[in-house]
Symmetry: C2
Subunit: 252 residues, 2 copies
């Protein structure tokens, strides 16, 4: 045993949040502007230090509330009545933060579109940005004008992993409803899938599929006309959490 555990090296542990929502038919991420070095003035994912008596998910939940006012559901894994929160991955490259050795546990949050852009507490400056633009910038792929600067630290990678997790997870779970208000129509749910995947889906096959999956959607009885055209039935999220068979993403 060539290493003495009693002299373990001290680390700082943080949580970072990938908060996703669908606004104007586009997948958007919450980013905050950094007020101090390093990366001063750059956009970054919201997050902060884990306190010494605080669990990781509690810390993520606290940061979420501080930055957005959002509460996630109290249920162990569910998301009824609030945003969905789950652990994403942990990032701990030795030089990812130039100040000190920091290990960051990233969490993924799926939230419905929020009324105010951001009503956060200690967020100096925060906004919803289209995820595509942020990812292009972090890849160095941005177009000429209005070039988006890459996210601070390794947050571009974290965002990419979070977006990919969301894209993959709505295939085989009912999580897409976490992007919707408590009552929603089949068309609104379809636009969520289209925004997250960036593809067009056949409205007729989609309707047949989601209404035919037991426990996915529960009709509330009400109807509404939010997009013009024939009024649509309103639904709530059902009890099912896994979709079997899954909603398959179309091939490239």
């Amino acid at each position: 045993m060539p290493y003495d555990p009693s002299t373990f090296p001290p680390f700082a542990v943080t949580v970072d949040l990938v908060v996703l929502t669908v606004r104007k038919d586009a997948l958007c991420s919450l980013v905050v502007r950094r007020g101090e070095p390093p990366y001063q003035g750059r956009w970054a994912l919201p997050g902060g230090f884990v306190r010494d008596d605080e669990g990781l998910e509690v810390a993520a939940s606290r940061e979420l509330a501080e930055e957005t006012g959002l509460l996630h559901s109290q249920a162990t894994e569910g998301h009824r009545g609030g945003a969905h929160l789950e652990q994403l991955a942990t990032y701990g490259a030795p030089q990812r933060d130039p100040r000190m050795r920091v290990v960051s546990v990233a969490y993924l949050v799926l939230a419905p579109d929020l009324p105010s852009p951001v009503a956060g507490g200690d967020a100096r400056s925060a906004r919803w940005a289209p995820s595509d633009a942020l990812l292009d910038a972090s890849e160095g792929l941005g177009r000429d004008a209005e070039q988006q600067a890459p996210l601070a630290f390794d947050h571009g990678q974290i965002l990419q992993d979070g977006v990919e997790r969301a894209r993959s997870k709505i295939e085989y779970s009912s999580l897409a409803t976490a992007f919707c208000p408590p009552e929603f129509t089949v068309g609104e749910l379809r636009r969520v899938y289209e925004a997250v995947w960036g593809v067009a889906l056949d409205p007729r096959n989609f309707h047949r599929k989601v209404t035919g999956t037991p426990g996915f959607l529960m009709p509330t009885g009400g109807t509404t006309t939010r997009q013009g055209g024939r009024p649509a039935q309103l639904f709530r999220t059902g009890e099912a959490t896994v979709l079997n068979p899954p909603m398959l993403r179309p091939e490239a």
Copy 2:
């Protein structure tokens, strides 16, 4: 901002390994006996402290080599020529280690059956144990006699998450071949699926499915008789990493 980052609380960061293999048609996990308190004498997952200048995956890889002599592939995500290693999840409940605040990043390793039980270095005492027995013990579900003691710390939960990840991931990826030697037969691959899922699969449909998925299996030309009966073709793992359509686990 009611919290001063300059006084961040120090954490210890460890990696823990869920090392899975298939032995005698059963899914088995590598466990080591603890030589010191807390939980002295109990079985635990292998693992250790992350060093000061060391990345998380490097630390996991180092611990794997120290405990088993296994090397995982150098490729970023692949597993050709070695074990497969991927990050599983991070566990950081405030009291999970009574000595101090420890955040543990768990990694999942899928390895072929090893010749010697364990040829490890600093492993005082290590063995392969059937995952089912370990999980039953951690659930308090063990039968009367030869009761297996629960794993130390929260390692029962970590093992359960790792086993579930493996069960789920072989559905839609070619990772099941990581449990096989470099050359293997369709029957051997089928027994891997049966051991991991704990179900019986139809040999004929399984054969049609895996040989019909492009890029999953590459014939090497050789044949062998390892189980009696007609000789079987030998295959290597193909280039495909994702299985489309997936190998669906039968319902309960």
